[in-house]
Amino acid sequence: MIADKLSTLVLDATEVTYDARGFHVQHTASPNILPQIADAFLSENFHLEMITCQDRRENDNAFRLIYQFNQYGSPQRHVIHADIAPDTAAPSIAAIFPAADWYEREIFDMYGVSFDDHPDLKRILMEEDYFGHPLLKDFVDPPNPYRSEDGAS
């Protein structure tokens, strides 16, 4: 059962009401063991739904990576929160779930969090030679010709 496999890996497991939050169980984990968590989910026929990130440098001085896994049959959505310090690389789970490839590229593009062992870590939404990470809270897009004068900040 997934709960047994995860109990050794994660720091906590909180059951939440699905109607209120949209998922079933929330875990917190350390980012180093993410590949093992992903292995555990894969062995239990879970699939990766989403990876996203939050910029929490003001509150906790960390980026919070949020992984979401689910399974068909009897849906049970698990959410994993992993806090990573700024300027540290997180391990990539693209070798286990190939879908993570583009999610991690998006996080790298928008937040600047890089991933170790990623097959092809380059920008995915902005143009490839762009400078800056747009979804950071202190981001300002420099003036450029793509914007009209009255739209520039």
Binding site: M126, E127, F131, P134, Y146
Partner: protein, 177 residues
């Protein structure tokens, strides 16, 4: 921050006008140009260039109920070398700006561009101070001939745009004066 080449058109129109006055009409080709413009205006082959939601309305305009083929514009060519008019249908993300410029350069002249939808006119609903994602308007990349407002414009609006473009082509260079 690295400085890079942006695909923005910055040619000065006054230079071209001065040049044209200088050279003058060496050979009077008016009748031939008029005849060719009549032919070109009635046989505009669009480039399949749907970028976002306006593409659905462009497809609807080409499909059975509205049928762009009635006015000769039904042959959508996938290769830029065989297309006349680039209908920019949809939001232009910044990553897409360079391919658009490449495709515009690949099109043989005479060529025209129709900016379809609010996003290609000036950024549309995605424009806010400090936005980082889109190019605010197709005319920052290619010289646009006809603008079609709407989000998305109805197929009838695209027809109106093509008729307007046909008028513009038939009017020839006199339009600019």
């Amino acid at each position: 921050m690295a400085q890079k080449e942006l695909p923005i058109v910055t040619s000065d129109p006054k230079d071209i006008e001065e040049l044209r006055e200088e050279v003058g009409p060496l050979v009077h080709m008016d009748l031939l140009e008029n005849l060719l413009n009549q032919a070109r205006s009635r046989s505009l082959w669009p480039l399949t260039f749907g970028l976002a939601c306006c593409a659905i309305e462009m497809m609807a305009a080409g499909a059975a109920r509205f049928d762009l083929d009635r006015i000769g514009a039904g042959v959508f060519r996938p290769s830029a070398r065989q297309a006349d008019v680039m209908i920019l249908a949809g939001t232009i993300s910044r990553k897409m700006a360079t391919p658009i410029k490449t495709l515009w350069d690949q099109m043989p002249s005479p060529k025209w561009a129709i900016a379809m939808g609010g996003c290609t006119i000036d950024g549309g609903p995605f424009k806010y101070p400090g936005q980082y994602a889109i190019v605010e308007g197709a005319d920052k990349i290619v010289p646009v001939d006809v603008y079609v407002p709407g989000c998305p414009p109805r197929p009838e609006a695209l027809f109106a745009a093509l008729f307007k473009l046909e008028e513009k082509i038939r009017a020839g260079k006199k339009f600019n004066k």
